[in-house]
C-alpha cells in the first residue's frame, strides 16, 4: 500500500429516497466498494459529502459511526460473513448485542421468520446451504429495523436459483415493507430483475463514472 492518492467516486452525486430500491453497477475497480463503504458508514469520504437522514456522516467519529451502522444500516455480504461458532439465531442476535436491545431472542426469531428460516434457527452456518446462509445474513441485517439494507454482491457466491430467491426476498422487503434497498452488483441480470417490477417509479441504477 503506497501513499499514492487514488481518486475514486469523483463527480458521483445521487440522492437516494426512502423506500427506493436500486442497484449500483460497474466493472471491478470502478469504486463500487468505496461507495458502498461510505453509504454503509464503514468509511468516510476524504472530501465531498454524504448525509444520511439529514445527518452529515463525514464529520462523525468512530463511535458515532458504529452507532449509525448498528441502528440504521443492515449489511448483507457476498461471503455471508456469519460467525461459525454461533447458530443462525446467535448470528441474527449479534447486532442486538451492541445497543440497547430488549427481547433479543424474540426479535431475532422474528427476523429469521421474515426470511423463511424460522425452522433453521438452531443450525450452525456449516449446516446450512449457501442460499440459507445468505438468508440468515439478511435476517441479521433486518433485525434492528434499519433505514437502509445494503447488499454487497449478495448473490455472488450463489447458484442462479438461490440468487433469484435472495433477490426476490429483497424485492419483497422493499415493496411490502418500504425498506430502502441498495444492491451492489456486476451481474447485469440482477439489474434487470431489480429494474423490472418498479420500472416506472424511482428505481434506477447509478452508473458510476469513477476515476
Amino acid at each position: 500500500m503506497g501513499k499514492v492518492e487514488v481518486p475514486a467516486l469523483q463527480g458521483v452525486s445521487r440522492i437516494i429516497k426512502e423506500g427506493e430500491m436500486l442497484a449500483i453497477m460497474g466493472p471491478s475497480g470502478s469504486g463500487k466498494s468505496t461507495l458502498m463503504n461510505i453509504i454503509g458508514c464503514l468509511d468516510v469520504p476524504t472530501s465531498g459529502r454524504y448525509s444520511l437522514a439529514g445527518e452529515e456522516v463525514g464529520r462523525l467519529g468512530d463511535d458515532r459511526l458504529a452507532e449509525i451502522r448498528n441502528r440504521k444500516i443492515g449489511f448483507v455480504f457476498q461471503t455471508y460473513n456469519l460467525l461459525h461458532r454461533l447458530t443462525a439465531l446467535g448470528n441474527v442476535e449479534l447486532p442486538l448485542l451492541y445497543g440497547n436491545g430488549h427481547n433479543g431472542r424474540r426479535r431475532a426469531l422474528e427476523a429469521l421468520e421474515r426470511v423463511g428460516l424460522g425452522h433453521r434457527a438452531h443450525h450452525r452456518p456449516a449446516e446450512l446451504s449457501g442460499g440459507e446462509q445468505q438468508r440468515v445474513g439478511i435476517a441479521r441485517a433486518l433485525v434492528k429495523n434499519p433505514s437502509i439494507l445494503l447488499a454487497d454482491e449478495p448473490t455472488g457466491n450463489l447458484d442462479s436459483r438461490s440468487s433469484y430467491e435472495i433477490i426476490a426476498i429483497l424485492q419483497r422487503l422493499n415493496q411490502k415493507e418500504g425498506l430502502t434497498v441498495i444492491i451492489v452488483t456486476h451481474e447485469a441480470d440482477i439489474d434487470e430483475q431489480v429494474r423490472e417490477p418498479r420500472q416506472a417509479t424511482s428505481v434506477g441504477a447509478a452508473k458510476e463514472q469513477g476515476r
Partner: protein
C-alpha cells in the same frame, strides 16, 4: 453490552478452542499453584520456628555483653568489657532485682569430642546447675552438673543425645570417659532427645561445668579475673514482670559496672527473638513467593501470546462485529474479558491445586525434619487478585490491537 452478554461471548470464544484455552489456563494454574504451595511452605517454616522458640518458655530474658547498638564486646575504656559469673549471680537478689527468679549463665566453646575410635565436633556449653530447669533440658540417664563440679572445676560432661549415639551407639555411656580437646572428661549424664525445633539443638551439644569451660577449654580470659560468661539466661517470675525485670537487670548491671554512658550489655527477650526471626522468615516467604511468581509471569506471557494469535485469527469476526455496530469499547471489552477469564479461571484452579499440594506436603518427613505447611486464605486471595491483574495486563495490548482494527480492512482479511 451487558456484563452477562460479555461473559457469555467470552466463554463461547474460549470454548471454541478448548485445547488451546486449557493449555493457556494450565500456565496460570501452575504459576498460581507454585506461588500458593511455596508460600505455604514458607509460612509453615515460619510457624515451626516460632512455635519451637515459644516452647522454650516465654518468661525468659537473655543478658549478653556488648551494647545493643554495637557488635563488639569492647565497651568504653575502663569499664568491664564482658559479663562475669559474679554479674550473673548478682541478678539473683530479692532487693535489687525482685522480678528475677533464677539465672543460668553459659559460656560456649567448640571442641572435638573423642571416644575410642570415634569423634565428633560439637558445641561445648559451660553451664551451672540452674541451667537444667531454666532452659528445660531433662536428663535421660545419669545426673546433671552440680555445684560441687563447678567449685572443683571438675572434668565431667553431660552429652546431648545425638552426640551420645554418635560416639557410643545404643550403649549407656554414663561412667565412661571421653576426650574433649585432648582433656579427659568423665561422662555423668545424657540428655533426653528433644527432636526438632530450637530445643533440638541440645541433641548435638555437650554440657560441662562453666568453670571448666573457662579454665580448661576457652581461650580468652577477662582482664579483671573471675569467670566470663557469654549469655545469662534469666528466668523471670512471671510473664507480667518482663518489663520490670529488664529495668531491674539494667539498673543492677549499670551499678556493678559503674556505667554512666552507653551500656556494655544488652537485655533481650524471647519475644524480640521471635520478632526478629519472623522478620527474617518473612523475607524467606516473600522470596519463595517471588520465585514462584516468575512462573506466573510466564503464564501471563502465554495468555498474551494466545490472545495475539486469537486477534489475528478472528480479524474477520472483529470486522463483522464492527460492521454490526460494535464500538471500540465493545471489542476491547470482549478480548479483555477473555484474557481475564483465562487468568482468573487458571487462578481459581491454581488456588485449589496449591491447597491440595500444601495439604499433601504437610506432615511429610523431609531430611529428618517434619515438614509443616500453612495454607492461609490471604495467600489465596492475593494469588487470585494477582492472576486477575495479570490477565488484565497481558490482555490489554492484544485487545487494544483488536479494537483499533479498521472495519473495512478487518472485513477484507482472509
Amino acid at each position: 453490552m451487558s456484563p452477562l452478554t460479555v461473559l457469555r461471548t467470552a466463554l463461547l470464544s474460549l470454548g471454541a478452542n478448548k485445547l488451546r484455552s486449557s493449555l493457556t489456563l494450565l500456565g496460570i494454574v501452575i504459576g498460581v499453584a507454585a506461588v500458593i504451595s511455596l508460600m505455604s511452605i514458607g509460612r509453615g517454616v515460619q510457624r515451626t520456628i516460632t512455635a519451637s522458640i515459644q516452647a522454650l518458655g516465654t518468661n525468659l530474658l537473655f543478658v549478653r555483653p556488648g551494647a545493643a547498638s554495637q557488635g563488639g564486646v569492647f565497651g568504653g575504656l575502663g569499664s568491664a568489657s564482658t559479663l562475669t559469673l559474679d554479674d550473673a549471680y548478682a541478678l539473683v537478689d530479692t532487693v535489687y532485682v525482685p522480678s528475677v527468679s533464677a539465672v543460668a549463665p553459659e559460656l560456649r566453646a567448640t571442641g572435638q569430642v573423642v571416644a575410642g575410635g570415634k569423634n565428633t565436633r560439637t558445641q561445648i556449653i559451660g553451664v551451672t546447675p540452674e541451667y537444667q530447669f531454666v532452659r528445660n533440658v531433662p536428663v535421660a540417664s545419669g545426673q546433671f552438673i552440680t555445684w560441687g563440679h563447678i567449685e572443683n572445676t571438675s572434668q565431667v560432661v553431660v552429652l546431648g543425645s545425638r552426640v551420645s549415639s554418635t560416639l557410643f551407639g545404643f550403649r549407656d555411656p554414663v561412667g565412661q570417659s571421653v576426650r574433649i580437646n585432648g582433656r579427659l572428661f568423665t561422662i555423668i549424664g545424657v540428655l533426653k532427645s528433644m527432636g526438632g525445633g530450637a530445643q533440638g539443638l541440645f541433641d548435638d551439644q555437650v554440657l560441662v561445668p562453666i568453670t571448666t569451660t573457662y579454665y580448661r577449654l576457652a581461650s580468652q580470659r577477662t582482664s579483671q579475673g573471675g569467670v566470663t560468661v557469654q549469655t545469662v539466661n534469666v528466668q523471670v517470675r512471671s510473664a507480667d514482670d518482663m518489663d520490670n525485670a529488664v529495668q531491674e537487670i539494667a539498673t543492677a548491671l549499670r551499678l556493678r559496672h559503674r556505667i554512666t554512658g552507653d551500656d556494655d550489655f544488652n537485655v533481650s527477650s524471647q519475644e524480640e527473638t521471635i520478632e526478629t526471626l519472623e522478620k527474617t522468615t518473612n523475607t524467606l516467604v516473600v522470596f519463595l513467593g517471588a520465585i514462584a511468581s516468575i512462573s506466573l509471569l510466564v503464564g501471563g506471557i502465554g495468555i498474551m501470546n494466545i490472545m495475539l494469535v486469537s486477534v489475528t485469527e478472528r480479524t474477520r469476526e472483529i470486522g463483522i462485529r464492527k460492521a454490526m455496530g460494535a464500538k471500540r469499547r465493545d471489542i476491547l471489552l470482549q478480548f479483555i474479558s477473555e484474557a481475564t477469564l483465562l487468568s482468573l479461571g487458571g487462578g481459581g484452579a491454581g488456588v485449589l491445586l496449591g491447597l491440595v499440594l500444601s495439604r499433601l506436603m504437610n506432615g511429610r518427613s523431609l531430611g529428618g525434619q517434619t515438614f509443616q505447611t500453612a495454607f492461609s486464605s490471604d495467600i489465596a486471595v492475593l494469588a487470585l487478585v494477582v492472576s486477575a491483574v495479570i490477565g488484565l495486563f497481558f490482555g490489554i495490548y492484544p485487545a487494544f490491537r483488536a479494537a483499533r482494527l479498521h472495519p473495512i480492512e478487518a472485513l477484507r482479511y482472509e
